[in-house]
């Protein structure tokens, strides 16, 4: 493959590339959005009970161990899901369970007991303590988990092409089948750029979102 092959592929297939990228993006966005909405509250809830935390985290770990191709294969056999976006979303949300729950749980559990005790002693309500203390102080760990989730989801979303998702993974899959190198490289490259780009942007956001007092040392 020469550079001109690659460029001509890009030129000829701009429309498809745009469509696949968009599909990829929306899948990742939806998956991450749903995951946040479900797993962050679950993670917070688990900080109340060590017993349940151990159980749920063990479950999340187990799910996380299932190879993604197997997961998709299993899901399509379930009539409720079948081929397509539903199965893809469900799998991605399941994969996000481990990093999100774990980081929220660890982040909140790592907050200095004394700070919480002092806050309670001053009469701050449980809700206030959660919003004003636990979440901001747990943020560095929570956000690290979030970044991992986003990058991981971007990668696994590509594999969903095998169950009918028309996204950037398809370039890689079809490129392999047809020995079309420019097609394969296009898919691989754009997915990587998206993953790296998202992580970089999140890194910048992280700098703003982590409370200032935690960044300052004497």
């Amino acid at each position: 493959m020469t550079l001109s092959d690659f460029i001509s592929f890009l030129m000829k297939n701009t429309k498809t590339i745009m469509e696949y990228s968009e599909n990829h993006f929306t899948l990742v966005l939806l998956a991450v959005g749903i995951s946040l909405a479900i797993w962050v509250p679950v993670g917070l809830l688990l900080t109340k009970s060590d017993k349940w935390a151990a159980r749920v985290l063990a479950l999340a770990n187990t799910i996380f161990c299932i190879p993604s191709l197997s997961m998709f294969a299993i899901l399509v056999t379930i009539p409720m899901f079948g081929l397509g976006r539903k199965s893809a979303l469900f799998a991605l949300v399941l994969y996000a369970m481990m990093p999100l729950i774990r980081s929220v749980y660890d982040g909140v559990k790592n907050v200095d007991r004394n700070v919480i005790e002092a806050a309670q002693g001053m009469g701050m309500s449980t809700r206030r303590i959660l919003v004003e203390i636990l979440v901001p102080l747990g943020m560095p760990i929570i956000f690290a988990g979030f970044r991992i989730t986003v990058v991981m989801t971007t990668g696994i979303a590509a594999i969903a092409t095998y169950i009918g998702e028309r996204n950037l993974g398809r370039f890689i899959q079809e490129g392999l089948v047809r020995s079309n190198t420019p097609m394969m490289v296009t898919g691989a490259l754009i997915i990587s750029v998206i993953a790296i780009g998202l992580d970089t942007i999140l890194g910048l956001i992280e700098k703003r979102i982590v409370p200032k007092g935690l960044r300052i040392s004497r």
């Binding site: 700070v115 002092a118 007092g213």
Partner: protein, 371 residues
């Protein structure tokens, strides 16, 4: 006033109750120190007052009202709470930390700012430098000052302090103790103060409650406890040097005696005669500026006779052998030993107003011991 009525706290899975049928009545406007070896239940008792821990049985009353009638958050907002580990919010500035409880009370912004500034100054911190800093930028002593300021923010009538100065270095601790005592003279709060250090208890307490294994062993003023320890446990706990510890309770002014004879520095040659006329063993020397600058004893006079220059040298050696009326006995004793003297002049500010003798200290302590 805080009353604990037959309070028992039994933790699950423990044979002995942490606190066992305790009755304790803490008077208003005083510092009451709960002291005892670790595990004696003193912290548990403190935390039952603001319902951080609920008693298994018994009633805690504040000003006659059962605390369980108030919502715990509301109750705690009205009680200052200081813990050893301080627990400042690391992501909030010092000003924001102090403003926490006023914010819970929804004070207007201006009022909060004014109060915060006032407290920073009151705690002896540099207002401009401290206000915008984060806790990690302060030293341990400074952080605990902020901790105390935060607890006092809405001027609560009651403050609970759980080993508040336990984690700061000894010099900062002494400063913090002195400042709290100075403040307490003005603010007159009901303070419940937990410590395991008997010396701190004696220094800080208007009243001391000594605990052992969940039971109140003795409750009284420091003087009562040091004078009449109720049993061997208390005796051991306060230490064999209890009478020496008692010295901390008295100030030089308490045992002040009038001065029999004052000699001006220029009249040093007449000192012997003057002292003989007054029939005293010691005289104090005053320089031209009217400042006390030494002491002359009869033995000095005998030793030097007509050698006025020698006498002057001897007298000026004791130039610093003076204490203030507010100097505690141990410091005065130390000076007496340092100068190998029997007497010290007592100053009030710059002015000579009396003297303190070895004998006087002994008598004072003995008389108190006798009572």
């Amino acid at each position: 006033m805080i009353e604990l009525e037959q309070i028992t706290k039994q933790y699950p899975g423990q044979v002995m109750p942490a606190v066992d049928k305790l009755f304790l009545s803490i008077p208003k406007g005083e510092i009451c120190v709960l002291v005892g070896p670790s595990g004696c239940g003193k912290s548990t008792i403190l935390r039952m007052i603001n319902r951080m821990i609920e008693p298994t049985s018994g009633i805690v009353k504040i000003n006659g009202e059962d605390v369980t009638r108030t919502d715990p958050d509301q109750l705690r907002m009205g009680i200052g709470y200081v813990i050893q580990q301080i627990g400042l919010l690391p992501h909030r500035t010092i000003a924001e930390n102090i403003a926490i409880v006023p914010r819970l009370y929804k004070w207007p912004k201006e009022k909060i700012k004014k109060r915060v500034d006032e407290l920073i100054v009151m705690m002896g911190l540099d207002l401009e430098k401290t206000r915008g800093k984060y806790p990690s930028q302060l030293s341990g002593g400074q952080m605990q000052r902020v901790g105390v300021a935060r607890a006092m923010a809405v001027d609560p009538p009651i403050m609970l302090m759980d080993e508040p100065f336990g984690a700061v270095d000894p010099i900062a601790r002494t400063h913090l103790q002195d400042e709290l005592l100075r403040l307490q003279k003005e603010i007159k709060k009901t303070i419940v103060f937990v410590t395991h250090d008997i010396n701190e208890a004696i220094k800080m307490g208007d009243r001391i409650a000594i605990f052992n294994a969940g039971k109140l062993v003795q409750f009284g003023t420091p003087e009562e406890i040091l004078t009449n320890p109720i049993n061997e446990f208390v005796e051991d706990f306060i230490g064999r040097d209890r009478v020496v510890k008692k010295l901390n309770l008295y100030l030089a002014g308490d045992a002040m005696e009038p001065i029999g004879c004052v000699v001006k520095e220029i009249e040093l040659q007449n000192a012997a005669q003057k002292m003989k006329d007054a029939g005293v063993e010691v005289a104090f020397l005053i320089n031209e500026a009217g400042k006390a600058c030494g002491q002359i004893t009869t033995s000095d006079v005998e030793e030097f006779g007509k050698d006025i220059e020698g006498l002057r040298k001897r007298v000026l050696r004791t130039e610093k052998a003076f204490v203030q009326t507010t100097t505690p006995f141990p410091d005065a004793l130390s000076l007496l030993l340092e100068y190998d003297a029997d007497y010290l002049g007592i100053l009030k500010g710059e002015e000579l107003c009396g003297m303190l003798s070895f004998k006087g200290i002994r008598k004072h302590v003995y008389r108190k011991e006798d009572e």
